[in-house]
Amino acid sequence: MSAETEAATPTSAVGDVVVATDLTKIYGEGDSEVRALDGVSVSFPKGQLAAVMGPSGSGKSTLMHILAGLDRPTGGSVLVDGTELAGLNDQKLTLLRRDKIGFVFQFFNLLPMLTAKENIELPMKIAGAKPDPEWEATLVEATGLGTRLTHKPAELSGGQQQRVAVARALLSKPAVIFGDEPTGNLDSKTSGEVLDLLRRAVDEFDQTVIMVTHDASAAAIADRVLFLRDGKIVRDAGRLSAGEILDTIKTLE
């Protein structure tokens, strides 16, 4: 463990939603072996907004993919809401993602032929579940999409589309929401709208959000900022300003 610990404890504790222990991910073999993750242990408590940063190839995306059950580690263990991911088959992993995990993607990934409302409800429809109307109304209110619900994605701005995506992730009240560069495809103004929404999700709705980002201003709203380099966590900090974040990144590159 070379990571300095400033805010959160890396060891498992009751109330941790996501717990990773000694994760390794190795691509290739022999000389061409690449260690994308090299013994990462980290826990995320409920109600925290965490940002994961690091230069390209640092392993931050790989970490998120493994934590979210989209990819499998070469070694180590991941617990999501108490469930060990290792050993789950594709079917069980899919159902776990469906029931416990929400996603916000860089490219929004909305279905173009469905309306905003239908896109929000999509994961629950797939699960065959009925959305809680009160909660849905709250989300619609929070996202400010009230008048745009019957519009198709092509008729929405990028910021609106991403807010739809955030609402989609929140609707099933998952244990954790993963964001993969959620502002990566937005300008600074619309980025702000989306980040506000994520912040409110944590503060007002008691959700847990883990996002990978390049954007220092995005990471600046997080309760905790993790820095990765060469597959290892090199700094695990609490709230940082954008300036502090940029300084840290410079030291990493």
Binding site: Q91, D99, F105, A127
Partner: protein, 851 residues
């Protein structure tokens, strides 16, 4: 640029392969058909050449008119004139008739529609048959039989057997087992018995007659030379003199016209349907790939490719796919021909077989059609590719520009549809040649298919919103996505569905048409016949011995036995049936549907008056009071005054005269009897009387006894066989359209890779994803199925109405249509298997990061 085309094909292997299959199957069918029919053609030539191998000159009667299938005979005494000709070594009369051996109670007749021959014996130097056991027949009552039937019936030389002849069953002794030619020529399913000339003449009522006179030349006299000498020696201008070779080629040609060409054109018609379906799929595939490659084309344009080069690259790709598919199709066609040959043999339609023949014509036709259709179908998509502006390379999500004529599409489609409807109407009601009418009919149908395919994009969304409700209820969220996906690109879904529509449409049409034929026959029996039992001719030139009538009349419980006879005649340029009836008994067994006249006319017919079936009367433009001049197949002529008209396109379809008027027009071997309608006395069981009639006619194997129900069943079974063959042939088109669905789905999934990644990430299971794709396929196939059923009903109804005067009845095939709809759903499910698997296998992360 061409290198780029090759690389493109190589990187899009699956797509290219699926596209190729669309055209490959059609080409396979063309190639298979041509190879098979060439084979049949050659086999016929071989058979007749082997038959005439020893014969230098053939003399035969010229039929009084063409296009008759009744045999004509010449005076056997002509042989005396021929024998006097210088250079003639041997000359002998020969009769070809129909009959078969009954060995140990088993009828050794032919199978699958091939003829059962009894030939008069010839001296060995003219005879194509050689005994391999025993000898040729000499004395009366002796026969020799072909090896095939001897084997089948375990017939031994010296055994006493029976021979079914026109004159009833005769006792014969088998004196020889025969081999045809040098033993390596197959005669298909036909059977042969040789009997002495005098016996054949007597048993087939051909005393003094011959089918042919065969002549052998003396050494040193050529066939041509001898032919000229014989011709010069024969003053009769109604005799035809040919060399053995000419006669063999002519007979092979006639048989080929009758069988080979029908098989060829019927199979080619179905191959044409398959090609048409393939064309839709190719058009669709190219449209989709061009749309997907918008940025690639734009990039090529930015780096300096001209529009012409873009056009050439797309068409070049089509050319290559067409070429590969055609070559593969030709090869597979050889396999198909081989398999069909085996299949025909297995179901009793034993075709005479020779080796597989791949002629250069077959290769040229297959390449031309395969490549031509592929290139043609790719032209519109290729033109659209040229309209992509270079700037599109820089835009995210650039889409293909709308075609220049897109806004006129509905109008164009309507014009095409109206033209198609007009073509069909003309084909149905015009009085032109059958070929011409069929061609306009088929052309009209193709145009209507095309118009519906063009317009069906507008019904995709409404259909989906209707289907979406039950599908959403059954499949939930994925059902909803599937519905939306199907409606996402209506043109794409419409064309995919249209390919299936053609197959299903034709299946429904054929069902209705064939059902109409069946219904017309059963309807005619129900409405016209008052008799319960019918005695009719089984083969044998359609005639039964005169002795059948008194035999039937003698059966207990028979109230009326009414004889009907007939002959082929020519009136004007058309061939018709002249039907001889018995005016006193006919009204008891048959109900005329008079258009002009009454039963009272029957007694007044005498020898110079006739009744004419109403459709024929229209064709001949005669009304009561007018006259018809008939030329009989025997060469005799007569004139009848028309006194009445009636409608019956099925049972008495011809010109009805009193029996005495028919007699002088008959050939010598015709008895003037082909049917006896039997009315059973009131209060007597039909079964008992039928059994009695059968017993009384045991001696006459050519007479077939059937109840009305048996007649209907026989007609139905014949018609059903045809229906099954049509279904099998149309199944190919349906299979091709399945590949179309597969292709469209694969391409769409490829387009939606990232969406699929998202769906999987947010918790869609593989099973749900497969279901989603399956539902999309099912929606497409339902659209195709419903459109096909509707068009099939429309075509069926139009054709049945148009041919109403020929007795065709429109019957709505409710149960079959339900089955076809279910089958089209099954088709969708099947088509979804491969695409669904591919989609489910996609790696979530890779799919998510897919651009």
């Amino acid at each position: 640029m061409f290198g780029l085309v090759l690389r493109g094909l190589a990187t899009r292997k699956l797509r290219s392969a699926l596209t190729a299959i669309a055209i490959l199957l059609g080409v396979t069918m063309i190639s298979g058909t041509l190879v098979l029919t060439d084979q049949i053609d050659r086999a016929f030539v071989q058979i007749f050449q082997a038959g005439n191998a020893k014969i230098d000159v053939v003399i035969k009667q010229k039929p009084p008119f063409e296009n008759v299938q009744t045999s004509v005979y010449l005076d056997a005494a002509v042989v005396d004139q021929v024998r006097k000709v210088d250079g003639v070594k041997t000359a002998d009369p020969f009769i070809q008739s129909e009959g078969y051996l009954i060995a140990n109670g088993e009828s050794l007749n032919s199978t699958g529609g091939a003829p059962s021959f009894v030939f008069s014996n010839l001296p060995q130097d003219l005879n194509p048959y050689t005994p391999i056991d025993g000898r040729l027949p000499e004395a009366s009552g002796e026969v020799a039989v072909a090896k095939e039937i001897a084997d089948k019936g375990k017939v031994k030389v010296g055994s006493k057997q029976q021979l079914a002849t026109q004159d009833g069953i005769k006792d014969v002794t088998v004196v020889g087992i025969l081999q045809y030619g040098n033993g390596d020529t197959s005669l298909g399913g036909s059977t042969t018995v040789l009997a002495p000339l005098a016996d054949v003449q007597q048993w087939w009522a051909l005393e003094g007659k011959a089918s042919y006179i065969y002549v052998k030349a003396q050494d040193g006299v050529s066939q041509g030379e001898l032919k000229d000498r014989v011709r010069a020696a024969l003053p009769q201008q109604d005799l035809i003199v040919q060399t053995g070779r000419e006669d063999a080629d002519e007979q092979a040609g006639q048989l080929n016209d009758l069988i080979g060409k029908i098989i060829r054109y019927a199979l080619l018609a179905f191959a044409g349907v398959a090609i048409l379906v393939g064309a839709f799929i190719i058009y669709n595939t190219f449209s989709i790939t061009v749309a997907q490659r918008t940025r690639e084309f734009a990039m090529l344009r930015t780096i300096g490719a001209s529009r012409r080069q873009i056009l050439a690259s797309v068409i070049g790709e089509a050319f290559l796919i067409g070429l590969l598919a055609s070559v593969a199709g030709i090869v597979l066609g050889l396999g198909l021909a081989w398999g069909l040959g085996k299949l025909f043999g297995a179901i009793g339609f034993g075709l005479p077989a020779t080796g597989l023949i791949l002629s250069w014509q077959t290769v040229v036709v297959c390449l031309a059609v395969g490549i031509g259709i592929t290139v043609l179908a790719s032209i519109f998509p290729a033109l659209r590719a040229t309209r992509i502006a270079p700037i599109a390379a820089l835009r995210e999500g650039a889409t293909l520009p709308v075609g220049r004529f897109a806004k006129f599409t509905p109008a164009i489609a309507v014009v095409i549809g109206v033209l198609g409807g007009a073509g069909m109407a003309y084909g149905l009601i015009s009085s032109g040649s059958t070929t011409g009418r069929l061609t306009t009919l088929a052309g009209g149908a193709i145009l209507i298919f095309l118009a519906v395919a063009m317009l069906s994009r507008y019904i995709v969304r409404p259909v989906v919103s209707v289907l979406g409700v039950p599908i959403g209820a059954v499949a939930g969220g994925v059902g909803r996505i599937a519905s939306e996906n199907a409606a996402r690109n209506p043109a794409r879904t419409a064309v995919t569905a249209a390919a299936l529509m053609i197959g299903i449409g034709l299946v429904v049409f054929v069902t209705i048409f064939v059902g109409g034929i069946k219904a017309s026959f059963t309807g005619a029996i129900d409405s016209s016949l008052k008799s319960e039992i019918t005695v009719s001719a089984r083969g044998f030139g359609g005639t039964i011995p005169a002795a059948v009538l008194p035999a039937v009349q003698g059966v207990e419980g028979v109230q009326t036995a009414s004889p009907v006879g007939g002959t082929a005649v020519q009136i004007g340029n058309g061939g018709y049936a002249l039907i001889g009836i018995d005016p006193t008994t006919l009204p008891e067994v048959y109900a005329f549907d008079w258009t002009d006249g009454s039963d009272a006319l029957l007694g007044t017919l005498g020898t110079d008056k006739a009744l004419v079936e109403s459709t024929i009367a229209e064709e001949l433009k005669v009304k009561p009071g007018g006259t018809v001049d008939v030329l009989s197949i025997s060469g005799a002529k007569a004139t009848f005054t028309v006194v009445g008209t009636y409608t019956d396109p099925t049972i008495l379809n011809g010109i009805v005269v009193d029996q005495p008027a028919l007699k002088p027009l008959l050939q010598s071997n015709a008895t003037g009897l082909n049917t006896v309608f039997v009315r059973v006395a009131d209060g007597t069981s039909v079964e008992t009387v039928q059994a009695g009639v059968e017993e009384a006619l045991k001696q006459f194997p050519t007479a077939q006894v059937q109840s009305n129900q048996e007649q209907k069943d026989q007609a139905a079974s014949g018609v059903n066989t045809i229906l099954v063959i049509f279904y099998a042939l149309l199944a190919l088109s349906v299979v091709i359209s399945l590949f179309g669905i597969v292709n469209t789905l694969v391409l769409s999934i490829f387009e939606r890779t990232r969406e699929i990644g998202m769906l999987r990430a947010v918790g869609t299971t593989r099973r749900q994803l497969r279901a989603m794709i399956r539902w999309e396929a099912v929606i497409t196939s339902i659209i195709g199925g419903v459109l096909g059923v509707l068009l099939g009903i429309l075509f069926g109804w139009a054709v049945c109405k148009g041919l109403e005067s020929d007795g065709l009845v429109f019957v709505f095939p409710t149960s079959q249509i339900l089955i076809f709809l279910v089958l089209s759903i099954v088709a969708g499910v099947l088509a979804a298997i491969l695409p669904a698997r591919r989609a489910a296998k996609l790696d979530v992360l890779a799919a998510l990061s897919y651009e």
